[in-house]
Amino acid sequence: MTTTLEHATPDHPGPDHGYPEHYEPPRGPYWRLFFGPGLVRGVWMALAFFVFGLLIVAGLRWWWGWDPILHWEVIAAVAGMTTAPIGFLAGIGSFDYWLHYIVGRPTRPEDHSGHGATSWKDYFRVNTDHKVIGIQYLVTTFVFFTIGGLMAMLFRAELAQPGLQFVDPQTFNGLVSVHATLMIFLFIIPAFAGIANFVVPLMLGAPDMAFPRLNALSFWLLPIAGLMFVTSFVVSGGAFGAGWTGYAPLAEGQPLGQTFFNIGVQWAGASSIMTALNFLVTIITMRAPGMTFWRMPLLVWANFTTSLLVVIATPFIAGSQFFVMFDRIMHTSFFVPDGGGYVLGYQHIFWFYSHPAVYIMMLPGFGIVSEVISSMSRKPIFGYRLMALSLMGILVLGFSVWAHHMFVAGMADWLRVPMMITTLLIAIPTGIKVFSWIATLWRGRIHLTTPMLFALGFVTMFTIGGLSGIYLGSVPIDIAASDTYFIVAHIHYVLFGGSVFTIFAGVYFWFPKITGRMYDERLGKLHFWLTFVSFNATFFPMHYVGLRGMPRRVSDYSEAFGDLNFAISIASFVLGASFVVFAYNIIVSWVRGPIAGGNPWRAHTLEWQVTSPPPIFNFDEIPQVVGGPYEYGVPGARHAVMSAAAAEPQEVRA
């Protein structure tokens, strides 16, 4: 199957643009393999750029007479983690169009040869199709989810008994830190970006994202960041072990591995920011005719607010990590008290990103759950406008609560009560969302499919996470519970029972749209119940051990917590095993599941009105939006007219 121009649209003209349909580099196949964009050129250009970075460092140090000339910590940072990745990106072709433009060579006409996928190889190229990029994101993030999960099981094995059995304390700290870092930066945040990449342009009635090349680039930054976090284990001194929070001054005295965190976060953060900008421009400018803001599905609203959070907040974590790295490598003293630095400054800057990051990791899930619950209950979402406004409320309030992570950090005393009040107030918009979801269920016709199970599991688990958040928002309780396993329990109820459940819900929900095939419902339900039960068995007892006095991030602990930790570890292994059911179901169904049809859920939003998988430019004709996205049960109501030719009312396709 070749990319013919049968999908040509008025905006994307066919062969009459005067160029050959496929841009063919003027040389032979070997020349193309080594010098054409692709992984081969990526590898050798990464090596070449590494040497280039090494020469810069060695050359400058020789020039100034600094000893040693080959300072490997600096070389790792400059050549290994800065220039080599740039070389890799240039090699796979992320910058080709822009570079051609800059140097005055004829730019390659947009022939869409980098668009869409006809074989599995197309997923390993720079691809500008938002649907391909969405799949690239999702597969990559689930790979890192698996790695991060295996790390969790390693340290749960260590924690099954008090004392040290399997790993030394520094390795333990490394496992804990890399686990959290992968789950946050390489799974939850980009997995949501992947789902949104696939779904948002379709929901808007757009042929693609606003900036397809930027979209491709932002995907390829991710594996770079992930590779840095994982490979930090093999360098001398081991992986970064100061926690995913990387607090100064501990992080400043850590071995080389910490630099992998400092710079890896930059790549992941750059990826986030680019994607967020792309979503913002896409949502603002590429809505189909009639798609007003108040007709957008809540998933689009959720990604709109999330993207605002990302572009405003992410530069702060970038800054915090640069400062730590400068302290480590260039001997500045941003956070070194003896040099006039201010230790708490790190925490303020870090949490000014990392608290909004909690909402970056949650709001897209809110969007997914709204889609699932509405279509599976066959009812309009309850209080649509308030649902959208509460997202905006969380966005605004979310920037005013960061210091609740620092109630015991020794910051200004007077700051604690205001931060407590704003923190508690966030319970109001969040509560509105929970109550609106359960009101949507009320008197619905509830289809208890796998995505619906995960959505309902999410609502209950997230409520527990939200309520333990109220405990932690209250300063006196937080003083007792901070830095204990109660925190570990809380964040896993929010991020696993919350975010990860919604990712599962989203993957099952859009699986038929993405692959054109249906997953196995029985295996899906088995996956849900295994996950739900073992999740609670793993994390609920952590509230208890935390309140009773077990601090977090310890490889060894008091005998008194031995039995419970043993039970927790066993439950965590079951939780890990439950993922195998998911992986098996997804892989087998993708290969030979039953054909799903365009709209298996009979949902109203636009992505369900096209074939599964959707055509290469999504819509044969730009749809005309005429109503709200969730008008279930309203006689004669429609979300959009898909084709001007078929303007008379049409049945929603089954």
């Binding site: 209080g383 020794g410 209250s474």
Partner: protein
């Protein structure tokens, strides 16, 4: 529908009762050994009552709805087109607002009380260093000790500093916790109310020895405390 509401309330009550049993039967909090922790535990119970109520409400509606309105997967009818209800939406904005503000006010009062040092507190400098605690009794000629000894029913003000990286001073039975931060001084008040032996735990990740950064804390009678001071100075 009235019968439905009764069933819903019944489910909610059962869930709330179960949760109450779980909250009361297990001993979720360590035995309080300080006035400060007594007050913190009061806030904890206040928040727990509210949390049980809210969780029971949410869980009951979900369980009831799925039980009542679940249809086979091949059902193709739609539910009633209910788009919202302004009164309900105002209610579930206002009621949680009142509840969280109540928690906030109680918390602020307790926080203020727990920060009061009394007329003449025992002054102790707690110094965190990888990976041990050191306690300096500035009222007693800067007496230094690796073990924390406190007289019962006497406010103690801990002033914390750290030599190298962040540490956090925590005795689970005292409830109070505060980071020791290089470059600045931080402080907390503890008024021990129960004689006995407790553990000082470092609660902030401070490196590979973090898990073993422990110290013994003893709360003793005034007489015994004076005796201990003399022994140390001898």
């Amino acid at each position: 529908m009235r019968r439905g509401i009764a069933q819903l309330v019944a489910i909610g009550v059962v869930i709330a009762l179960l949760l109450t049993v779980v909250a009361v039967v297990f001993k979720w909090l360590p035995t309080s050994a300080s006035e400060e922790f007594d007050r913190i535990q009061a806030v904890y119970w206040f928040a727990t009552v509210i949390s049980i109520g809210i969780f029971a409400l949410v869980a009951a509606v979900i369980v009831f709805s799925v039980w009542k309105w679940r249809v086979p997967l091949d059902d193709d009818a739609d539910g009633p087109p209910i788009h919202g209800h302004t009164g309900l939406e105002i209610a579930w904005t206002a009621v949680p607002a009142i509840l969280v503000i109540a928690i906030g006010v109680v918390s602020a009062v307790v926080l203020a009380r727990n920060g009061e040092a009394g007329t003449r507190p025992l002054e102790i400098n707690a110094i965190g260093q990888q990976f041990a605690w050191k306690f300096v009794y500035s009222d007693y000629d800067d007496l230094r000790s690796g073990q924390l000894v406190l007289p019962v029913n006497q406010e103690a003000r801990f002033t914390m500093t750290a030599v190298d990286v962040l540490h956090s001073f925590w005795v689970p039975n005292f409830g109070q916790k505060m980071d020791a931060v290089p470059g600045i001084e931080t402080s907390i008040i503890v008024t021990p109310t129960r004689e006995g032996e407790f553990q000082v735990v470092c609660a902030e990740l401070c490196g590979f020895g973090h898990a073993t950064m422990r110290a013994k804390a003893r709360v003793v009678s005034r007489a015994e405390f004076d005796r201990w001071i003399q022994e140390q100075n001898a």
